[in-house]
């Protein structure tokens, strides 16, 4: 019985390599494009950060210019209330007790509740 032999001229080539179409840009072009977009983005980000810093500086200085004014008004009010408190205490108790072992001014914990409507 004759043996099975390859056809004359051998078998045809076997397709084992991928044969997909390569769509789109070349990888080098993609990398360069991404680099350009990201550089632009970071440039804009840096600009925005710089401007935000300047805006923050502007806001901070406007507040710095106002703080003495606001604090002075608050201080006058505190002094007024403190002196009124002291006078009231003197009138009720006859003398002013030193409550704290310190010369520092301590903001009052308790508010006065006047018996009559004052305002």
């Amino acid at each position: 019985m004759p043996q099975d032999m390859p056809p004359t001229g051998g078998y045809g080539p076997v397709q084992y390599k991928r044969n997909l179409p390569a769509n789109g840009f070349r990888p080098a072009a993609l990398v360069i494009g991404m680099g350009a977009i990201m550089t632009y983005g970071f440039y804009k980000l840096a600009q925005g950060t710089k401007e935000r810093n300047e805006l923050a500086r502007e806001k901070m200085w406007s507040r710095i210019h106002l703080i003495p004014l606001l604090q002075a008004e608050e201080d006058r009010d505190l002094v007024r209330r403190h002196l009124a408190d002291q006078a009231r205490e003197k009138e009720l108790l006859g003398e002013n007790f030193k409550v704290y072992n310190s010369d520092r001014y301590v903001r009052p914990t308790f508010a006065v509740t006047p018996a009559n409507v004052t305002k």
Partner: protein, 183 residues
């Protein structure tokens, strides 16, 4: 329930005892936050020495500054009140426009550049006070003079007939110098 009077309400809690006569009285500024913010740089321009005096006094008297610095505090308040009064006298319209813009824009200064420029110009022409931001970088345009703010909701539009803005407008002092020789 209806017969019960409210006792701890705001009205009852006011302590209206005035300051004793030994302490000179001063009229408070009485402006709200938006006008104060709008005028802050002019207050800073005119009252810087008084403000610094007051803050130094407070630093040197920790815990007692409330009593020791009353005099300096009165000076601070009088100076600021004078600035607000002068702005009201000379630039009332511009001032109102600017602080109302601030009130409408969450107190964000960068949304209100156009009214601010008008106010700055008016204040410089009449009171010779100019807005400058201390310690800002020398190589950059000051942020309040830039014509293309990044964070503003709307771009700054020209008035009809106004020449186009460059990257920035000139500060009021430079504008005054530029227009002085021509006239």
């Amino acid at each position: 329930m209806a017969a019960r009077n409210s006792y701890f309400n705001q009205q009852v809690l006011y302590d209206t005892t005035p300051l004793p006569g030994s302490i000179p009285s001063v009229k408070e500024v009485g402006a709200t936050s938006a006008p104060l913010l709008s005028a802050s740089y002019f207050i800073g321009a005119r009252c810087r020495p008084y403000n610094d005096d007051y803050m130094q006094c407070k630093t040197e008297n920790p815990g007692k500054g409330e009593f020791e610095c009353l005099k300096e505090g009165r000076r601070v308040t009088r100076c600021a009140a004078s600035v607000v009064e002068d702005i009201n006298k000379h630039c009332l319209d511009e001032f109102r426009k600017h602080w109302q813009c601030l009130d409408n824009n969450n107190h964000q200064l960068w949304q209100c550049r156009k009214p601010e420029w008008k106010l700055n110009k008016c204040v410089y022409d009449n009171l010779k006070l100019e807005k400058t931001i201390p310690d800002s970088p020398k190589d950059q345009i000051p942020v309040h003079l830039r014509t293309r703010p990044i964070y503003a909701h709307y771009p700054i539009l020209r008035d009809p007939g106004q020449p186009p803005f460059g990257k920035s407008i000139d500060p009021p002092s430079a504008q005054a110098q530029a227009s002085a020789p021509a006239s």
